[in-house]
Symmetry: C2
Subunit: 496 residues, 2 copies
Amino acid sequence: MEKIKKPKPSTYKAKYVVIGTGTAAFFAHRGITESDPDAQILLIGEEDHLPYMRTPLSKELVYADNEQAEYSFTDWGGHQRSLFYEDANFYKPVDFVNTSEPGTALLLGRKVVDMNIHRKRLLLSDGTIVNYEKCLIATGGTPKNLPVFESATGEVQQHVNLYRGINDYDKLVKLVHSPSVDNLTIVGGGFLGSELAVALAHVGKKHGVTVTQIYKEGGNMAKVLPKYLSEWSTDKVKNEGVNILSHTKIDSVKTTDDASKIELTLSSGETLTTDQVIVAVGIEPNVELAKKARLEIDPIKGGILVNAELEARSDLWVAGDVASFYDVVLGRRREEHHDHAVVSGRLAGENMAGKQKYYTHRSMFWSDLGPDIGYEAIGIVDSKLPTVGVWAAATAKDTPVGAGLTPEARGSDETSLVADDSQSGVPASVSNESVTSNLNKYGKGVVFYMRDDAVVGVVLWNVFNKIPLARKIINSQKKFTDTTELARLFKIHSEE
Amino acid sequence: MEKIKKPKPSTYKAKYVVIGTGTAAFFAHRGITESDPDAQILLIGEEDHLPYMRTPLSKELVYADNEQAEYSFTDWGGHQRSLFYEDANFYKPVDFVNTSEPGTALLLGRKVVDMNIHRKRLLLSDGTIVNYEKCLIATGGTPKNLPVFESATGEVQQHVNLYRGINDYDKLVKLVHSPSVDNLTIVGGGFLGSELAVALAHVGKKHGVTVTQIYKEGGNMAKVLPKYLSEWSTDKVKNEGVNILSHTKIDSVKTTDDASKIELTLSSGETLTTDQVIVAVGIEPNVELAKKARLEIDPIKGGILVNAELEARSDLWVAGDVASFYDVVLGRRREEHHDHAVVSGRLAGENMAGKQKYYTHRSMFWSDLGPDIGYEAIGIVDSKLPTVGVWAAATAKDTPVGAGLTPEARGSDETSLVADDSQSGVPASVSNESVTSNLNKYGKGVVFYMRDDAVVGVVLWNVFNKIPLARKIINSQKKFTDTTELARLFKIHSEE
Ligand SMILES: Cc1cc2nc3c(=O)[nH]c(=O)nc-3n(C[C@H](O)[C@H](O)[C@H](O)COP(=O)(O)OP(=O)(O)OC[C@H]3O[C@@H](n4cnc5c(N)ncnc54)[C@H](O)[C@@H]3O)c2cc1C
Ligand SMILES: Cc1cc2nc3c(=O)[nH]c(=O)nc-3n(C[C@H](O)[C@H](O)[C@H](O)COP(=O)(O)OP(=O)(O)OC[C@H]3O[C@@H](n4cnc5c(N)ncnc54)[C@H](O)[C@@H]3O)c2cc1C
Ligand SMILES: NC(=O)c1ccc[n+]([C@@H]2O[C@H](COP(=O)([O-])OP(=O)(O)OC[C@H]3O[C@@H](n4cnc5c(N)ncnc54)[C@H](O)[C@@H]3O)[C@@H](O)[C@H]2O)c1
Ligand SMILES: NC(=O)c1ccc[n+]([C@@H]2O[C@H](COP(=O)([O-])OP(=O)(O)OC[C@H]3O[C@@H](n4cnc5c(N)ncnc54)[C@H](O)[C@@H]3O)[C@@H](O)[C@H]2O)c1
């Protein structure tokens, strides 16, 4: 523990203490409360906001295009929703821990800077001490930056943002509405970069802002989607008006002469002048505190290593983005998705309250490249694995808002199998040649990710409400050596 | 759970149940009893013997050279000891679990064949069901065999033994005393192979039995000791009368014409005729049960993965050879040594009884190549790491029984530093040339194993009672960039 110099730091004691006020933290509170109605819970968070959901920050909220950043939005289904899980009234004042009243309180704007596992005690950045009986670490992750920006001058850095929370969203809204802004550049081709690029391109049109997306891969979501689907999506993103520079790195950066913009020199030799860069090159799980407490860090997947019950040590659990956990079917994993924060947060909360449950309900995730195209996924979705795709013609029903693409149905079956083995060397049921000629077909389909002949991941492409079936297939661990059997399992064309 | 067909299998219920009756199991019983005097403990073991210690089976008991296998022995210090930790009277009859009496009972000669972690229930090979509240898995390991023997005929296999327990020792004693046996061949250059070779060579002389040791490495204990020390030890083992065939593999095996012996064809092209082979090529941790229960298996070190408290899941711990555990200073480890079984078994037992202790007291191990030379060690002792050796002249006091070697003291200091970087590429304070010319010097010394400039392991070579100091140095995690500082820490020549 660090020495505290302030005269009398506040000291609190609560049975349940959660480090973090993100999604995993909030759903841990739900899990605890459901299992132990008398629970007193304290959530401690560095951010100065009530617990909120991040997912609309790169999608619905950007489309909403409100000049004054607002934190309520209309989801694709037309429902009005708030970013905040609960409003301020819901939470107790922190002193309630001195009573016997059940409830949940927040300590916001304060970071937990040290922890003593043996004494079950936390030290906060303002000197506050919190004693716990059961603790959850749900510290999430921090966006990574690129060395080229980190080593740049302060003037350049004025033009570089990371993107994770409400404060970053507020900045982005101002940029989009600023008359002096002509171009925004997104660096990164993953979930965040791709979602933001599409959304910003859409609203940018109204404000005279063009959008460039730079990444080193060959296509959008290339680490997740099989090559043909990544290529198809890239075309889609281009259609939305994004200027895509794939296979591209940033070699250097400097300000323009009047310092109002920055100029990027790219690996292609070209230069690009832009008002602002948003770096979306993944996150680093927040493990400094865990390291100080000498918890085990997963050397391969990163994050704090916990068992199938999300337990690191007696009375200490970890959930959300920062947890490397054991899935008894799929093996060791770390997941950086909203629903995983919900599922793992809740499970950890239940276990804090004494249930000895292990991780068995696999979480899902989704991504939207605009209102026209969306996918849901579950399990290990990694383009390095061999995949088998089952495709059918999409109808308007499958692409809620006009998709702008006319998928052709080929053959009487309406379903075709596509195996992508470009990176794996397993036999394909359809060769890559035919994949190329089929590029217009990927309006609606299912992609199975295979390991040792078993399905370990599924992407549902404009196919909705089939996650439970996908979950069942993964859980069965059944071996599928004949891929047509898989197609039969998912009769996407016959169930409409 | 497998279906049980027998009409009425016995069912027991005990608060504490231990799978295994080896050293870790026995010391878990001690740990539980010390922390919870009312404890009812059930140890379930496949072997048909009371819990016993394996270490004398390759050392003192072989030297004792009793024709009738006896399980008591005189240790190097002259004390009469039994192999068994407690005699039969110590244990309760198993039905005591139906009373409220505290104590420990054994269920021997039965294997746990399945476990249900959720229901906290075990199924035994004879159909018995055991319900537990807290369970420890201490299943140890099984000796590996070599494919060349596994694929051999039954006739050949009559001449091949593995070596792990009392039954194997009984067989060995018979062999040594059999008038028809001329040669015994040990395969393997690790702890067991080296200890057995020296011990058998010693007693073999009396019975006209010669001993051959075959291994693929360049010297005895090559995976553990730095090259110069492995070479020195190999000379020592040769001096004891062992015929060593290093850098050698076995290509094929067949019986002699009258099937009384076997003939090994070696990678050198030579053939070797022997009465019996004892294979000592390491163990495989016993994880089948854990796999069935879908516990996590460490993909790198093998064994069942547990945290720093040796806990795999709620109310389930793992100790001894089969545990891959987290050492907060040295990282993830699996240890196959007696003292680790003692330390980890006891720790697991204490935690089963509610202490939430983590692994912090590092265990040690020792090996003896006959009564003349012995070493103790602690931490990560792996010859792949860079080492620094501190050497001094040994006196008779340091080599209890006449060593047969005359170490020279060189220079006024009596202490010399030897850095072995043959496998690591770090700078050496003494080059390998001078190492070779110093071969007679290694009568007494300390070897430090370095990682990131910190000491992670220590071998004490004919230096006794210094394990606590070595433990302290490892625990400090101090960086030593100047190796002479290390030498000063261990003033082996000035403290005699
Ligand atoms: C813009 C955006 C859009 C996304 N969209 C989707 C999507 O569509 N679908 C999807 O599945 N996922 C999406 N995600 C990912 C999803 O939001 C995350 O996986 C989820 O937020 C993880 O929750 P968490 O609670 O583990 O971590 P976080 O939400 O990061 O919460 C961690 C909290 O802990 C705080 N903290 C960290 N260290 C300390 C400390 N030492 N002391 C006190 N507090 C601390 C942090 O400040 C933070 O508030 C999106 C993420 C972003 C950024
Ligand atoms: C000959 C010999 C000499 C040794 N000398 C030394 C030495 O000098 N120094 C040193 O440090 N170490 C030495 N060791 C190593 C040391 O003995 C081991 O590290 C130690 O025995 C490990 O203890 P354990 O309890 O983990 O496993 P074990 O001693 O192997 O005990 C495990 C027990 O579990 C039983 N079991 C396994 N599966 C099941 C099941 N499913 N159901 C029921 N029972 C089961 C096994 O039959 C066995 O009895 C030596 C080993 C041998 C074989
Ligand atoms: N729909 C969703 O599930 C969703 C949406 C938005 C954000 N998120 C989450 O938010 C976090 C941030 O999203 P993200 O897109 O930044 O992460 P990501 O991991 O999805 O993608 C990172 C991208 O950056 C690239 N990259 C990584 N290191 C790089 C480097 N050194 N140089 C250049 N490029 C590099 C990768 O190749 C990849 O294209 C992630 O945890 C993500 O899962 C999820
Ligand atoms: N003093 C002690 O601590 C001590 C003494 C005896 C036994 N033990 C323990 O008993 C167990 C058995 O001892 P051990 O000496 O067999 O194991 P070990 O791991 O010490 O040594 C195994 C030896 O077999 C060799 N080997 C491994 N695979 C091989 C293969 N496929 N072909 C040829 N050679 C191969 C290795 O190179 C090594 O020389 C171990 O767990 C050991 O730690 C410890």
